[in-house]
Symmetry: C2
Subunit: 126 residues, 2 copies
């Protein structure tokens, strides 16, 4: 971990990263502890984030809303290199969407299954 000049070009403070990703700074630090994102440090020990980090956080937040845990998201993000290329974003996108669709399919399946098990679930004649 090489430390970074205080005013490095393009790097974001934790506050800036929070604002750009629409979260609180406490969440940003939490996600870093959980391994979703990484930071460099200034000589004075302050965090500095790469400019794409807020994008990662935004993705993570939406992924949570479709049912992934932070650990699961961290796992998916492991495969995304630092300084992601458009192709990396595309693969991440595909992965997350596929994952979410899989759960929807499960939901469909359970619901369909229930409908077929009429005897137990529908109880038609009272």
């Amino acid at each position: 971990m090489t430390t970074i000049e205080t005013h490095a070009p393009e790097l974001l403070t934790v506050g800036e990263a929070a604002e750009l990703s629409g979260t609180a700074t406490s969440a940003i630090r939490f996600y870093e502890r959980q391994g979703l994102i990484e930071s460099q440090r200034t000589s004075g020990n302050q965090r500095r984030y790469q400019p794409w980090v807020p994008c990662v956080v935004r993705v993570a937040r939406v992924a949570q809303r479709v049912g992934l845990s932070v650990q699961e998201i961290a796992k998916v993000l492991e495969d995304v290199p630092d300084e992601p290329t458009p192709e990396d974003w595309q693969r991440l996108t595909d992965h997350l969407i596929a994952d979410a669709e899989r759960r929807i399919a499960e939901l469909h399946a359970v619901l369909a299954d229930l409908k077929s098990e009429t005897k137990r679930c529908d109880l038609p004649g009272r």
Copy 2:
């Protein structure tokens, strides 16, 4: 709340309901406290569940996996009457699927948006 004869036909004990829904009895009691399901009581104060209750629990569990909180699921289930008809199950199904699809759409949207904001997220030139 009329109490029920001990050995009422077709009613399930908490253990049976748990087994049929693939959860622990503690979860069944928890879901009841949260208003997802209801029970009657025997004269000896034991819970007795209608036979479709395990189905509701199964649905709830899958719904959790697509990102709904227990409170949100409870809200959806409010609209399902006791002794649901096939049409009730159908509406529940539609509601839950629609809800889940909505989140997937959000995920799609965020990801698409990120891709369009190339300047901030892709950083093509190193």
